[in-house]
Homo-oligomer: 214 residues x 2
DNA sequence: ATGGCAGTGTAACTTTTGTTACTGCACAGC
DNA sequence: GCTGTGCAGTAACAAAAGTTACACTGCCAT
């Protein structure tokens, strides 16, 4: 088990962490495996352990005041969630919801260790800063989408992102689910998708959408 | 000059930094004074020194692809720009524009010092993390505004924010300027402002808007 | 096979936002 | 005083997005 853990960490983080740090992580962290749709973090929760994503993908959502969500971005192998990081360090509640996009695994690290390593390992410090920067960058991207793009372009971006993180040109979602993550209505999504199909960009089936001519 | 510098820093950061660190900052940093409207950072620029805001307020803007901007948030006394921080550390170009909202002053710190202090001062490390967290939080707020609010609510928020950072219920901006920062058109802003006036929320004058009954 | 249901297609309408165009007003500079 | 210019008010229209309503179609369970 410990050995398998070390292997998993090396596969996702071998390029960023030094050998000694990987060993330490393997020692103190616990492995969490998850399935598609699992709710990993919810809004308002306290977070006591920092997650390092080993395999799979996670979607990060922001909640509407009345109802509905909004997809902010995806996390993939080698990512951590800076929002979570913020919560750990600041001892505050989570501002976002994290849901497994597909199955995968996490290494969970106790908060005290992550602070200790900040002093001890330069590679860890770099990683933490890089994570923050990536997340700020993703947030800027989310803002750009919302502020400067119309729904058709947002939807197209969404489909492409989804295809990328799932490594497949077939998107297994209902129009309702897509509408939910873009914070719009099912009718609008159906309408735009149908237009895309007429333009030859996609093929619509029941419960799935196929991206064409990439 | 050096003494004045130390005083200024103490006024803005006395509660967060230890004495020795404040002394070091005063030694190595240069003072920059700015006036309303000064462009402090532009998109695409490299940033070689980290700014600590001592007095005044700065607005942070994101640029539209074709034209126009969008106000992301304001910085005030005791803030630093995590975006800038990201650029310093990552040695990348600025993703945002920073413009003085009113007159004020900055302490500019060489990048190598800010890295050195990360190891040396716990209070500095805390400050850097807190800054990142604050900025992520502001970005979430910007996303909420864009995703979940209609223009009337966004405009009202804008007016209140503006009043807060300028410490005055009188907003000295043209409708055109407001439209620019909300990434909409002048006509829309005029329309909504007129409606607010009819509701008794504001009083419209030439070149300024007065917030009523707070 | 039949009934129920989730998922999708689509029409018709409303609301919100953006656009164009024109008017009038205040003030600065002559 | 006149005039140009920047700012604000408003109408009329267009585009985008949201809403309501209903029809159709596979598919599952009985």
């Amino acid at each position: 088990m410990e050995l398998k853990m070390e292997e998993l960490i090396k596969q996702a983080y071998g390029a960023v962490f030094e050998e000694a740090l990987i060993k330490e992580i393997a020692e103190v962290s616990t492995l969490v495996e998850f399935e598609e749709g699992d709710k990993l973090i919810d809004i308002g929760e306290y977070i006591r352990r920092m997650p390092l994503l080993l395999t799979g993908a996670i979607k990060i959502l922001r909640e509407d005041r009345d109802e509905g969500d909004l997809l902010l971005y995806f996390l993939e192998k080698g990512d951590t969630c800076a929002m979570t990081l913020a919560c750990c360090m600041g001892d505050t509640r989570s501002e976002i919801r994290a849901i497994a996009e597909n199955s995968g695994s996490l290494a969970m690290i106790p908060v005290n260790k992550m602070e200790e390593w900040l002093g001890k390992y330069k590679s860890w410090r770099n990683f933490v800063f890089t994570s923050y920067n990536k997340r700020l960058s993703e947030m800027l991207n989310a803002v750009d989408n919302l502020a400067f793009m119309k729904m058709d372009e947002r939807l197209l971006n969404y489909l492409n992102e989804k295809a990328k993180v799932n490594n497949s040109d077939i998107i297994n979602n209902t129009h309702q689910e897509i509408a939910y993550e873009l914070n719009t209505s099912r009718v609008v999504v159906s309408r735009l998708l149908k237009a895309f199909e007429n333009e030859g960009k996609i093929k619509l089936n029941r419960n799935n959408i196929v991206l064409l001519n990439k």
